[in-house]
Point group: C2
Chain length 137, copies 2
């Protein structure tokens, strides 16, 4: 009996891990997605400043996505028929990641330097329909 | 001379590959992104049918992204303050992928079954500001 004790415990442990690891992984992923903060920013830009504005926004987005792990995406687009109308799909890991983003030097630079270029800004909190949606290669 | 010919040619070939492969890769990626078709679909849904509509849209999106390589993303969201207002960021590899998507049984099923639920639909062609933007894990 004493001899068999170790292998049985080992097998039990393996069994527990095999069964529960995917369950734990699934719930931790689902939970991480539940905490996400997702928003649409709807911006109209002074047409005389559009190219300057787009350059500053592009720089801010590329830096944010590269250096901030909690900034999951900033997908910015301009309407083909009304290029001064910009929409940004903003995805943050959680609200703490968003608050931290607001304090970064690159965000503050963007906000300061584009202040006179932005004619209107609407921030629309949203719920994603398919959690975990990605953009494929 | 005859003996050295093969290794020199081999080295030259290696050099050419080493130098040009990243260049070719860069331009093929940039070109692929240039061909992308990106659009915002803005939909308002009959409030009495909202849950049915969302279930049908979710099914259509999950199938499209899974089985169609050219459907790169369908990021759908509903506004928290006006849940009947749905926006979908649609990213297709190119216009052929989009045309093919319109012929799929899952798209036709969605379109047919949601016909009476959709109060308005606006399709807005857009230009992405940062080509190749992804959604991080």
């Amino acid at each position: 009996m004493g001899i068999r004790k170790t292998p049985v415990t080992y097998h039990k442990l393996l069994l527990i891990l095999t069964v529960w690891m995917p369950v734990i992984f699934f719930f931790s992923t689902a939970n991480a997605q539940k905490n996400q903060m997702v928003r649409l920013a709807k911006i109209t830009v002074d047409s005389a400043q559009l190219e300057n504005y787009k350059a500053l926004l592009k720089e801010e987005i590329e830096t944010s996505v590269r250096v901030e792990p909690g900034v999951l995406s900033l997908y910015a687009l301009s309407e083909k028929d009304r290029p001064t109308h910009i929409t940004i799909l903003e995805i943050y890991a959680d609200s703490a990641a968003y608050r931290s983003h607001l304090q970064t030097p690159h965000f503050i630079k963007y906000k300061t330097e584009t202040k006179e270029m932005v004619k209107s800004l609407e921030l629309v909190p949203v719920d994603p329909l398919v959690p975990g949606m990605k953009i494929k290669d």
